[in-house]
């Protein structure tokens, strides 16, 4: 049987070669010769034309001079020499040796000096020591942290809250935890620096809309909607966010939250709210801008605030719905020292016990706002209920340097007479939309009528004598 199979195969084979058309054989022959040629030819790499000889490399290495690590800073630059505060930064503050009334620290509810808060912190220190010696994942989670988180989520009426050990890092870590490359974020122009850093870290598409301008935002959202219609598959995986602040630190005004919520549902975007300045200030119970406008807290996807203003502690928190609240600053960094968490819990207790303090604070803010109207040469930037106002020059001299110097001279005039103010500081080259130079006036609940009178008259005197 094998023979019978073999013979036809043999025949078939010889038949194949003989019956193949000539061009076929020639083509295959050429192909084989070409392959042999390619195998033995020199490879031509594009890189070769740029290959430097070793001597050239050595020469380049010898010649190369780097810039100095940092450029020189002029000796009399204002930021170089910080004002030194001797003692605690409370209502009466000793700055550069002069005793003044403090109109510069963000101590809105006056809790920096509160005895109850200090006592609780001391009790915690005696139990836990100072540091936590580890991140949250590795034995750095204390029962105090868990208690603070549950208290905050109960207070804000959200599902969950987590705390960060540094206020700046709170929103800067929360934004990249949600928004990744390819997502779209609409953010207000007046957003603070930590939000800008969070946006940069997230690698998403950033679109700025004019400050508090809902029409501009709506226009952008409509454009985005048209884009989405063109490419529905991509639109399904792209997430869209709006990032706003409750009370803007740079312009001291409030965002129009009800309109934002309407847009959220119409255009299917998520809202991130940064409430560092409004937590503990706005709202009937101090819950911030959502309570101020009567907006349901579940409409906001993420609220982030730092505990360094109203709560007079250190750190920040994020609250919202459960999934993925944690950012890099939470996972890879040591947790908040337990005594600071205990202080924040006690401050929260004080806020819950006595909701009248918020109304008192807002009254004082309105009072200061009215009193500062009509200061010669300075205009107020902000809304009446904002505790941290800006005073800008009515007429700028044209150069930022000289404006800053002028404002600094006002600050020094006031400090000499016992009122501590400060210049609002920004990183000029890094800010996206640099605010104009201004003075920061902070109102706290501890300021009495006389304090406010004194401060206002001081500022007005300074303005009239120094700003011609």
């Amino acid at each position: 049987m094998w023979n019978m199979v073999a013979v036809p195969r043999e025949a078939a084979r010889t038949a194949t070669i003989q019956s193949a058309p000539a061009y076929h054989l020639i083509l295959e022959g050429i192909l084989i010769l070409w392959i042999i040629r390619l195998l033995f030819s020199k490879t031509y790499k594009l890189h070769d034309t740029f290959k430097l000889t070793e001597k050239e490399k050595e020469d380049l290495i010898e010649e190369w001079q780097p810039e100095p690590l940092v450029p020189l800073v002029s000796k009399d630059h204002p930021s170089l020499n910080y004002d030194v505060v001797t003692g605690p930064p409370t209502h009466k503050i000793i700055i550069n040796g002069k005793e003044c009334i403090n109109f510069a620290s963000f101590n809105f509810l006056g809790l920096l000096d509160n005895e109850r808060v200090k006592q609780k912190a001391l009790a915690s220190l005696k139990k836990y020591g100072v540091g936590t010696c580890g991140p949250r994942g590795f034995y750095g989670t204390f029962d105090v942290h868990l208690e603070l988180e549950s208290r905050l989520s109960n207070f804000m009426k959200t599902e969950e809250a987590i705390i960060y050990s540094y206020g700046f890092a709170t929103i800067a870590s929360a934004i990249p935890a949600y928004s990744k490359r390819g997502d779209i974020i609409f953010v207000d122009e007046a957003a603070c620096f930590s939000i800008q850093k969070g946006l940069q870290a997230s690698r998403s598409f950033i679109k700025y809309f004019k400050h508090n301008d809902m029409e501009d935002l709506e226009r952008m959202l409509k454009e985005q909607e048209l884009e989405d219609h063109k490419n529905p598959r991509k639109a399904r995986v792209t997430r869209k966010f709006i990032v706003v602040e409750g009370l803007y630190i740079n312009t001291a005004d409030i965002c129009p939250l009800p309109q934002l919520v309407k847009m959220k549902y119409r255009y299917k975007v998520r809202i991130f709210l940064e409430e560092s300045m409004s937590f503990g200030v706005l709202g009937e119970h101090g819950r911030g801008v959502t309570e101020h406008f009567g907006v349901n807290i579940d409409d906001i996807d993420l609220i982030s605030a730092n505990m360094e203003n109203a709560l007079a502690s250190i750190g920040g928190f994020c609250c919202g719905r459960s999934f993925r609240l944690s950012g890099q600053g939470y996972c890879f960094s040591a947790s908040l020292p337990p005594m600071l968490a205990a202080a924040a819990i006690e401050a929260l207790n004080i806020m819950e016990e006595d909701p009248d303090i918020f109304t008192v604070l807002r009254e004082k803010c309105k009072h200061v706002y009215k009193a500062l109207q009509g200061t010669p040469g300075l205009k107020i930037v902000g809304v009446p209920c904002a505790p941290a106002l800006h005073l800008q020059l009515e007429r700028s001299s044209g150069s930022r340097e000289s404006d800053m110097r002028l404002l600094r001279s006002i600050v020094e005039y006031c400090m000499d007479r016992g009122v501590a103010l400060t210049l609002a500081r920004y990183l000029e080259k890094e800010e996206r939309f640099l605010p104009s130079p201004s003075l920061r006036v902070v109102v706290t609940i501890e300021h009495t009528e006389e304090d406010i009178e004194k401060a206002v008259s001081c500022v007005q005197e300074a303005a009239s004598s120094l700003l011609k």
Binding site: E54, E56, L60, I61, P66, E67, L69, V70, H77, S79, L80, Y82, D83, V84, V85, T86, G87, P89, A104, S105, F106, L111, L112, A121, L122, L125, K126, Y128, G129, V130, G131, C133, R136, Y139, G140, T141, F142, H145, S165, Y166, F168, A169, F193, K197, A201, V237, E308, A312, I314, R321, F323, G329, F332, S333, A334, P337, L340, T422, L423, L427
Partner: protein
């Protein structure tokens, strides 16, 4: 520049192989110009990714690190383990999708396809009880854990109300034992809290610069031996906010493979191109430097404005110590700048506790930017940067933290001041010197005993961070739980913090650990190692008294 192997043995160097026994002669390197040369063929089996310590003259004492290679069978079984878990993961996802099984976590449809979420749902959730364990006491040598129970396979936890007392703490970064609630540090912190309060309410450049901040910075300057320094409230933020202030477009960052997330984030935010060199590999770094200077910026070939090398003192996942003398030699030769992150090494290394620079006996002025944190050895929180006066003046003006972030809290500062003074011996006692000595004795003893037992331990012999290799995913959870049953609290780490097959358990030694505590921990580790078959090491065990020296003699 080449030395024969015999000379190296005489010099007392530990010799290690380069990558995988290949002849590394085809990199396009020219031998006579490089500072570090290609190694000779010196075969030492089963060690991977080692650099030959060529310039032994730069090292004043032996530098011995080891990263034993994963045994082949273990690697295969580990991949199989992950494969089985993945299959089960898909099965469960299928069941959840068709609502046969209840899904316990709210998630959106498109996120289900994400690998990160798949991993979290199906692998991480199973062993989640090993992390985020809450404690209710000082994180000292012994701690009290809050007991948690889960009734739905780790999706949610609840407190049972009981406390597990006196668990030996091998997980907290408490190298010098300053995590304590009694003693000089705590008393001083109490006084400062009463005087200054807790918060500050303003930034450093506005109204938040207290006199106590200035005192801290002068002390840190003296401690490090630099010209000036600046302190910040968070260690993570120190890196992520200051690297962008130092480099920008037109500068190059050369970063180690295993750098911490904060360094990577800082480098990314700066906008400079980043090139990664192999972990602690000086040949890889030198090649990058030469290519960078010779070819300039990509595409335009303009020269780089500056080159910044970013390394850490001790790498906390590997336990390795940076090869600082070689890096400084490279830096001087190629005129680059060096950023050294001493988060884990400050206070823990060196005869005076002053970090890696002290450990190698080098001059702190050679390191351009010395960064570190106060969280680990000082029992507080925060970070610092030290360097020349121009650098610090520039950072005062341009650092994001100094202008926008609230200053450090006064009691935390006082804790740092007191503990630093104790380490320097300025408080009049020998407490600092005693603790430093105790830590290095503990390190040597613990590492030696673990090696003798047959575990694979990574890292440098002098590093107080001791990673013990586990490899298999099931053993990660098992090790953590078994050690907790024996009242030892350890940290286990898996993917994505480590490569997927190299999961490990990590012990952090402390000066507060007594010999008895270490012995208890070692016995427990021995038991668990036998139970879980973790003793993978296939080295010849050195006789205890000779230590590393005997391994060389075996090859003679």
């Amino acid at each position: 520049m080449t030395e024969s192997s015999a000379n190296k043995l005489l010099n007392g160097d530990a010799c290690h192989r380069t990558s995988n026994g290949k002849r590394s002669s085809k990199n396009g390197f020219v031998k006579n110009h490089c500072v570090f040369q290609q190694p000779q063929k010196y075969r030492r089996p089963r060690e991977k990714n080692q650099n030959v310590t060529r310039n032994s003259s730069l090292y004043k004492k032996p530098f011995s690190e080891s990263f034993e290679e994963t045994p082949l069978l273990v690697a295969v079984l580990t991949y199989m383990g992950y494969g089985i878990l993945t299959v089960f993961g898909y099965l469960r996802d299928f069941l959840r999708y068709w609502s046969i099984e209840k899904c316990n976590v709210a998630q959106e449809k498109e996120e289900q396809k994400d690998f990160e979420n798949f991993y979290t749902r199906n692998l991480y959730m199973r062993i989640r009880d090993n992390w985020n364990r809450p404690i209710c006491s000082v994180p000292g040598a012994k701690m009290d854990l809050v007991e948690r129970a889960s009734h739905d396979y780790n999706w949610t936890f609840e407190d049972t109300g009981r406390v597990v007392k006196d668990v030996i703490n091998m997980g907290s970064y408490n190298y010098l034992g300053f995590a304590e609630n009694t003693g000089a540090c705590a008393d001083a912190a109490i006084e400062v809290t009463k005087k200054y309060g807790l918060g500050v309410g303003s930034t450093r450049c506005e109204m938040g610069n207290l006199d106590i901040h200035e005192e801290l910075e002068q002390l840190v300057t003296r401690f490090l031996g630099v010209e000036s320094s600046l302190a910040f409230g968070m260690g993570f933020a120190t890196n992520s906010m200051n690297i962008p202030a130092l480099t920008g477009k037109g500068c190059l960052i050369l970063s180690d493979e295993l750098n911490h997330a904060s360094l990577v984030l800082g480098a990314r935010l700066s906008g400079s191109p980043i090139r990664v060199f192999k972990h602690n590999n000086m040949i890889s770094l030198e090649k990058l430097l030469r290519d960078a200077i010779a070819h300039g910026q990509p595409r335009t070939h303009r020269p780089w404005k500056k080159i910044l090398i970013v390394v850490e003192g001790i790498y906390s996942m590997e336990g390795s110590i940076v090869r600082l003398p070689e890096i400084i030699a490279l830096k001087k030769r190629y005129k680059a700048y060096l950023y050294l992150d001493e988060a884990h090494s400050i206070g823990a290394l060196g005869p005076n506790g002053k970090g890696v620079v002290d450990y190698f006996g080098l001059d702190p002025k050679d390191v351009d930017i010395m960064m570190g944190t106060f969280t680990k050895s000082f029992g507080a929180a925060g970070g610092y940067i030290g360097g020349k006066k121009e650098l610090i003046d520039y950072l005062r003006r341009h650092s994001h933290s100094a202008l926008y972030a609230t200053s450090m809290s006064p009691p935390v500062i006082q804790q740092i001041i007191t503990s630093m003074k104790i380490i320097m011996g300025e408080d009049g006692t020998t407490l600092g010197a005693d603790r430093l000595r105790q830590l290095s004795e503990n390190t040597t003893y613990f590492r030696r005993r673990l090696c003798e037992m047959g575990f694979i331990i990574y890292g440098n012999d002098d590093s107080p961070v001791v990673p013990l290799m586990l490899y298999m995913p099931a053993k990660i959870g098992a090790f953590g739980r078994e050690m907790l049953k024996r009242n030892i609290g350890t940290v286990v780490v898996g993917f994505p913090a480590t490569p997927i097959i190299e999961s490990r358990a990590r012990f952090c030694l402390s000066a507060a650990h007594t010999r008895e505590m270490l012995d208890t921990a070692l016995d427990a580790a021995n038991e668990v190692g036998d139970l879980l078959q973790l003793k993978y090491s296939r080295r010849e065990q050195p006789r205890p008294s000779l230590g590393w020296m005997s391994e060389e003699n075996l090859f003679d």
